[in-house]
């Protein structure tokens, strides 16, 4: 189980997370939604250990992420998959080498088995025949699917998706959602999906969490969110939240990540 407990995070005096708490049970996928600039990606990067909270904890099966020994952290990361917003494919490698990279570096599989696994994963994401292409030669949707193949190739137990469908056309959005749903059925991972694809994302998640004003304002099933009495949440999912209401939490400054890197990650 993943538990996010009372997370606080500020950048340059702007408090982005103001005590966010959320639980993700084993095998459960949670959609994390909310207005742009509320800190959804920041929250996800905290879960992945790429950012250190000012206060609060990220707990995996009872163990605080920031109190883990280096070896335990590496062991935990071996169970992780993360789909970055822009794919984060290694641009000096082909699609094949990108997907093979985690297997070559983190397993003792021979090259024949690596090839088998990579080609199978590429087939699953519909990229058969694109294995010799470089990331720069791929369309946005293909790059996302290649990144998904790389994230899934080690059969992760925990998957984090940072806006997997942003900027893609509705057909690709649908195919990527179907792909995530299929792989979830196949691998049974626990996961968090940060998404703006409302209500499409509700089709394959077990729970929905709304990040608003730096806190998790709502947690419930996709059915429950449509029945909530919380007008802010209801208006947000219906797309009628006034622009002024977005100012409740200040937008995350663009320099936030840079400052964070300089503080150092796990």
């Amino acid at each position: 189980m993943i538990a996010i407990e009372n997370l606080h995070k500020s950048f340059d005096g702007v408090e982005v997370l103001k005590g966010a708490s959320l639980e993700v049970r084993d095998g459960e996928v949670v959609a994390l939604i909310g207005p742009s600039g509320e800190g959804k990606s920041v929250l996800l990067k905290h879960v992945a250990g790429l950012m250190r909270p000012d206060s609060g904890r990220i707990v995996f099966n009872g163990k605080d992420l920031w109190n883990l020994q280096r070896a335990d952290l590496v062991a935990l990361r071996n169970r992780f998959g993360f789909l970055f917003q822009n794919g984060a494919l290694f641009d000096s490698m082909t699609v094949y080498d990108n997907v093979a990279f985690p297997l070559r570096e983190k397993t003792r599989l021979n090259e024949k088995d690596v090839r088998e696994r990579v080609l199978s994963e590429l087939e699953q994401v519909g990229l058969t025949g694109a294995d010799d292409k470089y990331p720069a030669q791929l369309s946005g949707g293909m790059a996302k699917r290649a990144a998904l193949a790389r994230a899934l190739v080690r059969s992760p137990e925990i998957m984090l998706f940072d806006e997997p469908t942003t900027g893609l056309d509705p057909i690709i959005v649908h195919s990527i959602h179907a792909l995530i749903a299929d792989t979830h059925k196949r691998l049974g991972f626990s996961g968090i999906v940060v998404s703006h694809a409302i209500p499409a994302v509700f089709s394959f998640v077990q729970k929905v969490a709304v990040l608003y004003g730096g806190v998790i304002r709502f947690v419930g099933t996709p059915q429950e969110i449509f029945k909530t009495d919380d007008t802010i949440v209801r208006d947000f999912i219906r797309g009628s939240l006034p622009t002024d209401a977005f100012r409740f939490g200040e937008p995350v400054p663009a320099e936030a990540n840079v400052q964070e890197r300089q503080e150092g990650t796990v």
Binding site: G49, L50, N86, Q262
Partner: protein, 264 residues
């Protein structure tokens, strides 16, 4: 804080204090970066093929620029040295003058500056782009150390390549000096090369080598650090690249002064 008097008084003070704090913080971060890099340099496994690839990029890739700058530096030294020495009737010392200038000073410094401009800037830009496109974060997510994969190979490659490039710079420079002094201005080869062995010893060669090793480490450290912590977008990467080249070049010259004071 809402008090206008506080704002007028404290805000400028706060801004003033931010400057040294930021400088000290930056130095601390660079120190931590170096410490982590050294840790992963000695903690196996070493990414041997990545080291070879970077030696090819930093070392072999810089050969042309080193040969060209070495040749012309030696040729200028040949001209200047000949005319200066001819005023006191000591043109016989041209060979030792050219060789000593190159081995002790110009070779290590010029080669390091050339490597900074050609390879150091490229390393910063590459790491910076990897940073802004989250490729470095991806390595972390995979449980792999970006230091081991990206920084250590550059450090080792620079430590190996820069002394070798310096040696090439020195040899080509000496030959360039001979081309001018010997072939153009009439100093015989026996006089030119004989003077070198008479007035130089192994410590001149070794001290130049020590300098170039220090400069190699310095270039890799600064350029990798600046790329690793590049700011956002294309502007962030371009700023990081400029800072890496300027800071490396300045530090090479400062470091050269102190090394010269200690070594010679």
């Amino acid at each position: 804080m809402g008090n206008p008097a506080d704002r007028w008084l404290l805000d400028p003070l706060r801004e003033l204090g931010r400057i040294p704090l930021s400088a000290v913080g930056g130095l601390g971060r660079m120190g931590i970066f170096l410490g982590r890099t050294l840790f992963y340099t000695f903690a196996p496994p070493l990414k041997f093929f990545r080291v070879l690839k970077q030696i090819q990029f930093i070392g072999f890739g810089s050969m042309l620029v080193i040969v060209l700058t070495g040749a012309f530096t030696g040729m200028v030294l040949g001209f200047q040295g000949f005319y200066t020495l001819s005023r006191v009737g000591s043109t016989a010392f041209l060979g030792s003058m050219v060789a000593l200038s190159l081995l002790r000073e110009l070779g290590p410094v010029m080669a390091a500056l050339m490597v900074t401009g050609r390879a150091g800037s490229a390393v910063t830009a590459e790491l910076g782009i990897m940073r802004i496109t989250e490729q470095i974060d991806e390595l972390e997510i995979l449980g792999l150390s970006p230091y081991r994969y990206l920084v250590v190979p550059n450090l080792l490659a620079a430590l190996i390549s820069v002394p070798l490039l310096t040696a090439i710079f020195d040899v080509v420079g000496i030959l360039g000096g001979y081309l001018i002094g010997g072939k153009l201005l009439g100093v015989t080869s026996g006089t030119y090369f004989g003077a070198m062995t008479d007035y130089m010893d192994m410590s001149d060669v070794l001290n130049g080598l020590y300098k170039s090793i220090c400069f190699g480490g310095l270039i890799a450290w600064v350029c990798c650090y600046k790329g690793f912590y590049a700011g956002y977008g294309a502007e962030g990467v371009s700023k990081a690249t400029t800072q890496a080249v300027v800071l490396s070049s300045v530090l090479i010259l400062i470091c050269d002064y102190f090394l010269t004071s200690v070594l010679f």
